[in-house]
């Protein structure tokens, strides 16, 4: 059955095709969740959407690419370097530029982050040019045939990686002193300061951890995605949607939101076509912002 409307044709598909699309949607969604994890952590603490998140992802992907290109380091092994590197970079960025320039005002922080991301994106454009760069690993096309779809190992690694990072973050926030301090600052800034928590330090630590997450995501993404200076923009809009859908500040929400968005996008592409299929993401984003800005797992107070 086919319906035509304004040049879009809607038709029904067999359940195998739909299932296949949904499964590849789950894998795609785990990538979105990975990018969103760092974003949701930073939002939870600073109560600011990090507009520089996509650019940080892009820079980390370049780092992974050059480690592979120059030193021949496997992308997954390069995590040992880019994750601590990302933490240091994020910590320093927040401590020296973002925190200082924004005078403690939320709206200004938003704009400072935008400025920082413009600088990072165009610095990458200037030095690395707009050329697509991709990492070839010997195993990037190996995988499983699930009957309805084919899954490559890098996709499985991304799914497992996102589950693992969610788990690690959750443990860190629940059981370590720093994690507890981060939660205290996110709940009540002034109160945390009064009990002796160095709030500025905690801001920078959260920003550092968020950047470390995005660096880990970069390492998991590089085997399947080519790097170019605008790649961050592609992911960051989706990551915003994931974070809002899951509830800002919630790790489980980011994971669930990522999977939902991934599956919706794939089904949207299947039914509405490659181009219009992307509208599903914007529509979900707008609907969630309007009717449930706290998201699926967000706390009611925020």
């Amino acid at each position: 059955m086919t319906i035509d409307f304004l040049g879009i044709s809607l038709q029904s598909y067999s359940w195998q095709t739909v299932l296949g699309s949904s499964i590849s949607g789950v894998f795609l969604g785990s990538i979105y969740a990975l990018v969103a994890l760092g974003l949701t952590l930073i939002y939870g603490v600073l109560h600011i959407i990090n507009f520089a998140h996509g650019s940080l992802l892009m820079l980390a992907m370049y780092a992974v690419f050059f480690l592979w290109n120059i030193l021949g380091l496997d992308p997954y092994l390069s995590m040992l370097i880019v994750v601590p590197g990302g933490y240091l970079f994020g910590y320093t960025l927040q401590r020296t530029i973002i925190g200082k320039a924004s005078h403690g005002k939320d709206e200004i922080t938003l704009l400072v982050m935008l400025g920082v991301s413009i600088v990072m994106e165009n610095t990458a454009l200037f030095f690395f040019t707009a050329t697509d760069r991709s990492v070839r690993v010997p195993y990037d096309l190996d995988g499983f045939d699930l009957g309805v779809t084919y899954v490559v190992y890098p996709e499985i690694a991304a799914l497992l990686g996102s589950l693992l990072i969610t788990l690690v973050l959750w443990f860190f926030m629940s059981y370590t002193d720093t994690g507890k301090a981060i939660r205290a600052v996110s709940k009540e800034r002034q109160g945390a300061r009064l009990v002796g928590i160095n709030v500025e330090h905690i801001f920078a630590v959260s920003f550092g951890i968020g950047t470390a997450c995005v660096a880990a995501a970069a390492a998991l993404l590089v085997p399947t995605y080519a790097v170019h200076p605008q790649i961050g923009y592609l992911f960051v809009l989706i990551a915003f949607t994931v974070v809002v859908l899951g509830g800002m500040g919630s790790f489980v929400g980011a994971l669930a939101g990522g999977l939902i968005i991934g599956v919706t996008e794939q089904l949207g592409r299947l039914y509405l076509g490659e181009s219009l299929g992307l509208i599903t993401i914007s529509v979900i984003f707008i609907i969630v912002l309007l009717f449930r800005p706290t998201g699926l797992f967000g706390s009611k107070s925020s």
């Binding site: 400072v112 165009n122 454009l125």
Partner: protein
């Protein structure tokens, strides 16, 4: 700075700007000034809602693109005169502004959330303009072909009714007039009751509400006003380049350009967007020139600098260049008296 000095300064500046084509005939300079005034209009559109109302939109390309597309499509599909279709472009964009405003303000979105929803709408329109090929011609964009016969001149602003001079500098004076209209409208708004209410909403929305201001209505007015001014920039763009496509119309570049000028120039001031636009474009041209000699023509340099300027202004000049000029003036003036 007393009001009279300010007014005299303003008028001198505008008269100078309007006389420039008489003295400078270099195409490059005229292009530079046209682009500067274009971004000033784009920035003024953002300034109404962001600068005066404190509602930071990250998706003003939505209004720019909608204005540009309506202007292009009415001519392309129905052969309307550009002078006629521009009213539909303004009204249609104001309607889109009203829709976005109604949804976001009715549901009380502020701060980050408002920034996100404007971004989401711009992205939704981006996808739609790319996909609904039956209406928008899709990713190829709309190309308006120039018709040489002045009686059937459907696809460009024609200045044949005027003399040769206006014919040559038609676009310069078009954007100059658009800018003049936009700036006068904002100047009047600043002095009106509505303007005062809008500033009250920016300073403290709950307090404004408590004082009996209908904050929803004020914000709705501001977003429609902002949308129409931004649409004027879109109309100009379509007529100047006779081409529009989804990336230019709804891509993030225009949203960013729109907020740059007023922030650098001075948020919530009439002159801010123009000052900022002049400064940024001036610096951009100079760096391109200088870097071009050293490193060859590589993209990105001017934008790196824009980002750095934005962060520096936010860090050290919270009131922008307009605030800096004001402070310097005061210092000199006091210095003379003492």
């Amino acid at each position: 700075m007393s009001n009279r000095v300010r007014l005299i300064g303003w008028c001198t500046f505008l008269v100078m700007l309007s006389l420039i084509p008489l003295f400078i005939t270099s195409g490059r300079w005229i292009d530079f000034l046209e682009m500067t005034m274009f971004v000033a209009v784009l920035g003024q559109g953002w300034n109404i809602l962001g600068g005066y109302g404190g509602q930071y939109s990250f998706g003003n390309a939505l209004f720019f693109g909608t204005g540009a597309y309506i202007q292009a499509l009415l001519q392309f599909k129905f052969g309307l005169s550009p002078w006629f279709s521009l009213w539909f472009a303004l009204a249609g964009t104001a309607l889109v502004g009203a829709m976005v405003g109604y949804l976001s303000f009715r549901y009380g979105l502020r701060g980050s959330y408002f920034a996100l929803i404007t971004l989401a709408f711009a992205e939704a329109f981006h996808v739609l303009s790319r996909s609904l090929t039956a209406i928008t011609e899709g990713g190829h964009g709309v190309q308006l072909t120039l018709n040489q016969n002045p009686d059937q001149a459907i696809s460009t602003f024609q200045f044949n009714f005027a003399g040769d001079f206006l014919k040559a500098y038609g676009f310069y004076y078009t954007i100059f007039s658009i800018m003049l209209i936009a700036f006068c409208a904002v100047w009047l708004m600043e002095r009106s009751r509505f303007g005062a209410q809008l500033v009250a909403v920016r300073e403290n929305e709950d307090a404004a509400e408590a004082l009996g201001i209908n904050t929803f209505r004020v914000k709705m007015g501001a977003i429609c006003f902002s949308a129409s001014i931004t649409a004027m920039a879109g109309v100009y763009y379509t007529q100047k380049f006779l081409f529009i496509e989804p990336g230019i119309a709804y891509g993030p570049a225009k949203s960013v350009e729109a907020l740059f000028a007023p922030i650098v120039g001075g948020l919530g001031t009439v002159i801010g967007p123009l000052l900022g636009s002049f400064f940024i474009h001036g610096v951009g041209e100079i760096t391109k020139e200088m870097i071009g000699h050293v490193l060859g023509n590589r993209p990105g340099v001017d934008l790196i600098l824009f980002g750095v300027i934005l962060v520096l202004v936010l860090a050290f000049l919270p009131r922008g260049l307009a605030g800096l000029v004001e402070d310097l003036w005061k210092r000199i003036f006091r210095g003379r008296n003492a």
